[in-house]
Symmetry: none
Subunit: 88 residues, 4 copies
DNA sequence: GCTTGGGGCGTTCGAC
DNA sequence: GTCGAACGCCCCAAGC
C-alpha cells in the first residue's frame, strides 16, 4: 500500500474530503447553535437585571410553545376533516 | 381598580411592554435555534445518504469538542499557575 | 374496605414492605454519598491548611477527569470503527 | 538548579509528594462517590423492574429528606431556646 | 421501547 | 452575607 497518510485506505481521497466538509459544516452549525443559546441566556440575564423572575419567564415560553403546538395540531385535524369531505 | 384587562395590575404598563418584548425576543431566538438544529440534522441525513455512518460522525464531532474543551481548560490552569506564582 | 391504615389499599402488604426497603436502601446510600462528599471537602480543607491553592487543586482534578473521559471516548470510537468495518 | 524533573522547582520534593497524595485521595473519593451514585441508580432500576414509579420514589426520598432537615432545624432552635434560659 | 445525549434546575463553592 | 459561577442531578427528546 502506497498510502501517503498513516491511516489505512479505508476511505479514498474523495470520501476523506467529503468527510472533512461534513464535520466542518456540523461544527460550524453547532457554533451557531451555541451562539444562539448564549443570546437566549443573555436575554434572560438582562430580564433578571430588570427584576423579572427568569424561571417564570421560561415557563411562559414553554407554555406558549405547547399552546402553539396544540393550535397547529387542531389546524391539521381541521384540514384533514375538510379534505375528507372534499374541501370547504 | 381601573385596570382595562382581567388581570390585577401587578405589572405596570411599562413592565408589561418589556415583558412582551423579552418573551418575543426569546421566542424568536428559539426559532433560530430550532432552525439550526434542523440544519444539523439535514447534514447528517445527507451524509448518511452518501454512505457515512452517522453514529460515528456524531462521535467524531463530540470527540473534537472534548479536545477543544480540554485545551481551553489547560490554558485556564496555566493562567492559574502563573497567577499562583505571583503574576506573569 | 378493611384497611388498617388510613390510605386506600393501592399497594398490597408485600409491595408496601418492598417499598419501605427500597426507600431505606436509597436513603442509606445517600448518607454514604454525603459522607464521601464531606471527606472530599475535608481533604481540600486540609490541603488549604498546608498552603495549597484549592482552586488549582480542583482544576487539576477536573482536568484529569476530562483526560480520562476523552480516553474512554476514543476507545468507544475505536470500537465503532471496528464494528463499522465488519467486526473485529 | 539541579532539578531532576522538567518542571521548575516551584514546589519542593516534599510538597510535590503531598500534592500527589492529595490529588490521589480526592480522586479515590470521587470514585467512591460515583460508585455509590451507581448503586443508587441500580436500586431505582431494580425498583422499576418491580413496577414502581421511579420518579415518585425519588420524590418520596426528597420529601423525607426535607422533613428530616426540618426536624433537625426545629431541634436546633429548641436547644437554642433551652440554652438561652439556662438549660432545662 | 430503550438508551443515550442535551437542557434546565437546584445546590454548592469560591469571590467580593 | 451576597453574588455569581461551577457541578451534579434530573427530566425530556431524539436516535437506534
Amino acid at each position: 500500500m502506497a498510502d501517503d497518510s498513516s491511516s489505512i485506505e479505508v476511505l479514498n481521497a474523495t470520501a476523506q474530503t467529503r468527510l472533512k466538509t461534513i464535520i466542518e459544516r456540523v461544527e460550524r452549525l453547532e457554533e451557531d447553535k451555541a451562539a444562539v443559546a448564549a443570546d437566549i441566556k443573555e436575554v434572560f440575564l438582562e430580564a433578571k437585571g430588570e427584576g423579572f423572575d427568569v424561571k417564570i419567564l421560561r415557563k411562559v415560553v414553554r407554555l406558549r410553545k405547547q399552546d402553539k403546538a396544540k393550535r397547529m395540531e387542531e389546524e391539521a385535524i381541521l384540514d384533514l376533516y375538510l379534505s375528507a369531505i372534499g374541501g370547504l
